[in-house]
Symmetry: C2
Subunit: 329 residues, 2 copies
DNA sequence: AAATCTATTGAAAACGTTGCCATAGTGGAT
DNA sequence: ATCCACTATGGCAACGTTTTCAATAGATTT
């Protein structure tokens, strides 16, 4: 910065003003400084400016994992939103680390980010509290906690929508495959199951659900179990697409036509769902990310209360894996 | 920090020494300071320490996109590696921005990161140079440029491996579907094509390749084109799995059994490849990420030359989509 | 007992910014 | 001509660390 000042023949203060775009600098001088900065390819050190302003210009994003497609999509959205606001994105993958009770303090968040966004972390109240201690705004995604800022979908309603789709097609024997344990998404898991159950009960039908280990393998097994019933379901809804893919595989191997004999539905609109022509419910993770970033920016600017909730819509994606049940039955 | 010092009854210098874990502090004092820091849940401000050390403790990772599964996997690996070394990860998604000539300077890299890792950016020499100007080590992944640090796979060899697999099964009419334009992966694209061509020529067979738009849709179209040949191939290899998935769809719709009539192979070991039982070549993106992070750490520590190349192995993943051609032909 | 060495600690200068206050012009109203 | 309000600019302290150097107190050697 000193070099820029010297080159433009002005003081440090003036360079600082130009770099921050604050008013009160003569146009001619402004341009001269700008040119000098460009020639030296100078950018301000966030380190130094953050030291005095107390703002770091960075937002920490905490994800449980980075590999599953879902997180990539949410991150893409967050990145878009933050970039627009000129903020940088720090990404922390907690993964296994999370098992340890004090994991929140192992993250160097304290004075190193202006806000924290968690993605589908399903935090406990205690974990939330610990993150609060960092002293920066906390925005949750994929999770709704009263009194805390969050962006999420209505899991219950989304599943209800899916269930009704199957009922509207004329199915009466509808089964649900959910996950249990091992998954990091406890709350959302429960909500989806309840959404299914209440919709079935409201329709005066028997609620029929199987819980299995999460993931594709779980779906395979659970589907096998359903097929071994003396009157198998004519439609199967799963908690998320991965499970549906496993179920799909079992059906394929058993030579059971989809949707001919059994209609199959997923949830999430997984990248690969399109490949299998799987009817599903879209929750547009990228939009969730953008919304979370925008919300964060607004909170930082004081334009939004630090407990605003943003609910994202879900959309039914109709593909080839669902149809009316065979009339013969 | 001052608070910690006061609470522990020592000077700032001593606290600093304790926090950095440098020797020269009496064990008793060390413990007292540690406790005080814990009670105040104090962590050092990277901002301030970076200001004086010149190190930021952060590494910038530049990716073209964040959504595709591949990037999530590489990031997961990078995150693992950096976390182990106590470094934070800044992620910049350049995406569309890249069209603009000066995009490199729009990233606040200069004094804000200790190193830059690019992921499958396929940078031009000029872009590399611009990133060099930032003045920090540059590590490329998915791209090999002489004289620059990089982690990559041998695309030619990987495709050659795949091609030989098909030839070993007894196929002689093997076609290749590659991508052209629109993709950000020019170099890798060319290498893969050449790997196929040279292997075929070496085997004394006719080289037969179709280029199409990248992605699933391109695969669908290209497969259709191949099927309209008066003697369609008995095996098809594609530049990457996405294309293979499109091709798979066309085959499914045409009622052509895979691998019965046509063997199909992808490349990359896409998440969804397992769903389609697609034989493919794995390049373990997560391992690439870890290797890139480790290399970066080593370069920063001066333990590796700033132009070290790390070549990652590829592995043939045998699944159900390839088999010997029908003897009848 | 004096001298030397070592281990531990503290004091103060830097690092590159920002924000406040002071200063110097500039033009208009009195 | 004098004063005022205003704009543009510079000077300097402060932010929270690390680093260098000096100081102190025991311990060891002569």
């Amino acid at each position: 910065m000193r070099d820029v000042a010297r080159r433009a023949g002005v003081s440090l203060s003036t360079v600082s003003r130009v770099m921050r775009g604050v008013p009160g600098v003569a146009p001619a001088v402004r341009q001269r400084v700008q040119e000098a900065a460009d020639e030296l390819s100078y950018v301000v050190s966030r380190n130094a400016s953050g030291l005095v302003t107390g703002r770091t210009g960075r937002v920490a994003v905490i994800v449980p994992f980075l590999q599953p497609w879902f997180f990539g999509s949410v991150l893409a959205g967050i990145s878009d939103g933050l970039q627009r606001a000129g903020l940088d994105m720090l990404v922390y993958q907690v993964g296994e680390l999370r098992r340890q009770p004090g994991w929140t303090s192992s993250l160097p968040l304290r004075r190193n980010s202006d806000a924290v966004i968690t993605v589908a972390m399903d935090l406990s109240a205690e974990e939330c509290g610990r993150l609060d201690d960092v002293g920066v705004p906390l925005v949750l995604t994929g999770q709704s906690v009263p009194g805390r800022a969050g962006v999420f979908i209505d899991d219950r309603q989304g599943v209800a929508k899916a269930t009704r789709h199957l009922l509207n097609l004329g199915h009466t024997r509808v089964a649900y495959i959910g996950s249990e344990g091992g998954s990091w998404r406890g709350r959302s898991s429960r909500d989806r199951l309840e959404g299914f159950q209440s919709t079935m009960v409201d329709a005066g039908l028997a609620e029929w659900s199987v819980l299995s280990t999460p993931g594709r393998r779980g779906g395979e097994l659970a589907m096998g179990e359903l097929l071994s019933d003396h009157r198998p379901p004519t439609a199967v809804l799963t908690e998320f697409d991965d499970i549906a893919m496993g179920a799909h595989r079992t059906l394929r191997r058993s030579g059971i036509p989809v949707p001919g004999a059994i209609s199959l539905m997923g949830f999430d609109n997984h990248e690969a769902a399109a490949i299998l022509d799987l009817t599903t419910v879209d929750q547009s993770p990228r939009a969730i990310g953008t919304a979370a970033a925008d919300l964060t920016v607004d909170i930082l600017a004081g334009e939004a209360p630090p407990d605003r909730h943003v609910e994202m819509p879900t959309r039914l994606i109709l593909r080839q894996s669902t149809s009316a049940p065979l009339p013969s039955e």
